[in-house]
């Protein structure tokens, strides 16, 4: 939030870019790119997010403190997802310990999906 008044032209350009990116992400989903479908979808979503945050939310013109708060929020989200995934994806790297309560409870549930 600053005294800076963003010209309408900028807003309209951002709006057109967002609509085009929506069309692009929808179109790309129908083309087989293997694992790059996910990469493309997320890259376009992040681009759209940046456009909204920088221009519609005026963060481009905001103070450094505001920017740090936002980056910290996104960084914490990255920690949440990365560490949870690190746990989830490495669980099979070591042999199961002798059963205690958890495997016997979970196995019938998990085996349905294996």
């Amino acid at each position: 939030m600053s005294e800076h008044v963003v010209p309408i032209k900028t807003y309209l350009a951002v709006f057109v870019a967002l609509i085009l990116l929506t069309a692009l992400t929808t179109g790309v989903a129908y083309i087989d790119l293997g694992p790059f479908n996910t990469v493309a979808a997320l890259a376009i979503a992040v681009t759209k997010m940046l456009l909204v945050v920088l221009f519609f939310m005026h963060v481009k013109y905001s103070s450094g403190v505001t920017k740090i708060v936002i980056v910290a929020g996104i960084f914490w989200l990255a920690i949440l997802i990365t560490l949870t995934m690190a746990d989830e994806m490495t669980r099979n790297w070591t042999p199961d310990p002798r059963p205690w309560s958890s495997p016997s409870l979970l196995l019938p549930f998990v085996s349905k999906f294996l």
Binding site: E3, V5, Y30, D32, A45, F56, S63, I74, E88, F113
Partner: protein, 228 residues
């Protein structure tokens, strides 16, 4: 500086006494709103993290679940929300540049109409349709037809889109208050903080949808079965 602004009547009405000038007050307003929005990032972030894990555990089921959603409605709603974000910034622009009350109100009402259109499309063409097809976990999910993996996907779908829609409804309430405040002549180029921070909230809700749309509707290979 502080003494000066207290002496100046036009300042005193718009700048609370703990701030030196309107600029500092604006910065504090924005920072406070962003702090709240960061808690919202974590709020939705937990759902996103859970979604990522379960998607990696059951990729085929999530793909099948994704194919049950209609891309055309998701894409339309994305465009509708982006349009509402545009009208929101135009309302703030109108206040910043001292346009008439009716101009500000027009843009705010347009924002509300687009927001209501989003919820309408979601309810009428998607959720209602999902219910008719037996896709609502806890109400009428057809486990024999779709399987438990798809049920898990639909749980995520309804929680994520439901929480998002709840934010939209709250946003519509905020916009109603803004329309009343504008009509009472509360805003000027010197003071429009409620418009500005409500705009931040509205755009944030837009960003959540910008991620929900590809995650729920697109990722998972539309090309394989052609989708719908």
């Amino acid at each position: 500086m502080a003494a000066h602004s207290r002496l100046n009547d036009s300042h005193a009405a718009e700048v609370a006494h703990q701030f030196e000038d309107p600029e500092q007050q604006r910065e504090a307003d924005s920072l406070g709103m962003w702090t709240f929005l960061v808690t919202e990032i974590m709020f939705f972030g937990a759902l996103f993290a859970a979604y990522v894990i379960y998607r990696s555990l059951h990729p085929a089921a999530f793909e099948a679940g994704s194919h049950l959603l209609e891309v055309k409605f998701g894409a339309t709603n994305t465009a509708v929300l982006i349009g509402s974000s545009l009208t929101m910034v135009l309302a703030i622009y109108a206040a910043q540049t001292g346009k008439s009350k009716s101009t500000i109100i027009t843009f705010l009402v347009l924002t509300m109409l687009l927001g209501a259109a989003f919820i309408g499309i979601k309810l009428h063409f998607e959720w209602f349709h999902d219910y008719a097809e037996g896709l609502v976990p806890g109400l009428n999910f057809d486990l024999a037809k779709y399987g438990s993996g798809v049920e898990l996907f639909m749980v995520f779908y309804f929680f994520m889109t439901g929480l998002h829609a709840l934010h939209m409804v709250i946003g519509l309430g905020i916009l109603t208050v803004l329309v009343v405040m504008t009509a009472r002549g509360r805003f000027s180029p010197r003071y429009y903080a409620p418009l500005d921070i409500s705009g931040l909230y509205w755009h944030f809700v837009d960003i959540i949808w910008i991620f929900l749309f590809p995650l729920l509707y697109l990722i998972g290979g539309r090309y394989t079965h052609g989708g719908r």
